[in-house]
Symmetry: C2
Subunit: 298 residues, 2 copies
């Protein structure tokens, strides 16, 4: 747990907050550890519940104002968390700080998602801030090893879990997706850029059309981080909505990589799994056991 | 090219024909090599164009009649090819041969697609027939190495091709899909059980919704066989429809594994690619260069 500030002259943990429950969970954990917190709540994204902590509402584009506030609030470490809808860049009014950063910001926007996120981290770090992961402040955001809910996978379902982790690990090495669905000993769906929600919807659709058949609940959604993923700002996530989608698709459970997949609304997520009679398990993957992928293509 | 029969007392090449142009292409190639041919055309599936060769129309379920006809026609080698819609098993009237084979047929239907196909091959081989691949009789059904149409991929597009083959090869090793879409140096979509058509449609949809952005034509559909795939009865396939879908999705081209992906309606497929200004290339993959995938999941 990163609860002590790196720089004692700037003891405050800044939380740049998008939507959902994660920013408050992080603030709660920091406050519990006795650490001063200030939330920079992105307007139109962050939940009003962040107002229970010292906070400032900021708009997309108010980068100059953000840096002024961070200095005034003695922020040293920074957590960037919560969901964001992709902003409509044409409607953003930028302030002087943004104009001065424009070349940097434009170069961030050129790359893929990973590149953008790595760029965001560097953008703050170049200005003297230390970006830490939400899960480093609030370790309960990630899964422990083992069975999280009340339902235990069957032996056949555990084989699907193993099959899914094997595939997810290799796909991560290739920088493809974070999630797969394994069913009856076979990987039947793989996440690309469309994301986990659409992968689950696809499996449900294939079942509805009779292209995938199984009786009762079978199959598992497996989610793991890519080896190279910057977990400080880009962590694979599941939550109650994921559980509901998995249940609606007729799958039997979820499996996530220990320590590297965020469980948003942990209690609610586990309760939802129990209620839907889904298993929810976590396994620690050993990065060293991932076979290297041949780089040369003949 | 397998043009000489293995058993001189049974010189005829039998072609069990589903839909599309492949059965006639196989019959043409055999006839050209001077080999007697008889087509067993599946009613409701095979094209009437097979009637230009000696033929019998058979119904799903007429297994006894099929074996009687094969003996009478002196069939030794057998090609099973063409597309089939999955039959409605409840409406099939089975003959005595099918009833006698019922336990075998039921056991075939239990496994996944691969298991069914391996079972079909064994079913005929156990009865003294040699199942050969359509491409062994008609080598023009598979791609040569190199550029097939008139369009040459750019350097960036060639990198996408390499990235796509790398991923397709690993996915094949894991027995997942046969196709991926690579775009701007990144694999953005992976085929699971939904098939290549739906993978392409997904990419088109992601672009229409602004989730994937590119200008002009970029990106490639890469298709390869799984290492363990039985190419005699189960070959990855592209054709004019694939080319049209790739063009409609705004991708720049197609790349297929040399010798192990079937090009249905070759001339028409290449013409369609040229017309849509898509590249169509083929690369020989060295199965030995596929890194072994770690089997143990911690």
């Amino acid at each position: 747990m990163t609860s002590a500030p790196l720089d004692p002259s700037r003891p405050t943990l800044g939380i740049i907050a998008g939507g959902g429950a994660v920013p408050v969970t992080v603030a709660d954990a920091a406050a519990e550890a006795g650490r001063p917190v200030v939330v920079f709540a992105i307007r139109g994204e962050a939940s009003p519940s962040v107002e229970s902590y010292p906070h400032h509402w900021i708009r997309w584009g108010e980068i100059g104002r953000l840096f002024d506030l961070m200095v005034r609030e003695k922020v040293g470490d920074l957590v960037i968390c919560g969901s964001v809808t992709r902003p409509d860049f044409t409607s953003i009014r930028v302030d002087l700080g943004a104009v001065l950063s424009l070349p940097k910001i434009l170069s961030l926007m050129v790359g893929g998602d990973d590149t953008v996120l790595r760029g965001v981290v560097r953008f703050f770090e170049d200005r003297g801030y230390t970006v830490v992961g939400a899960h480093e402040v609030a370790p309960l955001l990630v899964a422990d090893v083992g069975q999280l809910g009340q339902v235990r996978p069957t032996a056949a379902q555990s084989l699907d879990v193993a099959k899914g982790f094997e595939a997810a690990r290799v796909l991560g090495t290739l920088d493809i997706g974070q999630a797969v669905v394994a069913l009856n000993g076979r990987v039947v769906g793989v996440e690309g850029v469309e994301g986990t929600d659409e992968l689950i919807a696809r499996i449900a659709d294939l079942r509805a059309r009779g292209r995938l058949k199984w009786s009762g609940r079978e199959g598992v959604l497996v989610k793991a981080a890519k080896p190279q993923q910057d977990l400080r700002v880009d962590m694979p996530t599941i939550g109650p909505r994921t559980v509901q989608a998995v249940a609606a698709a007729g799958l039997a459970g979820l499996a996530v990589e220990t320590g590297r997949v965020m469980i948003v609304d942990r209690a609610e997520t586990i309760a939802a799994a129990d209620k839907a009679k889904l298993f929810l398990v976590s396994e620690r993957l050993d990065p060293a056991s991932v076979a290297p992928v041949a780089e040369d293509v003949p």
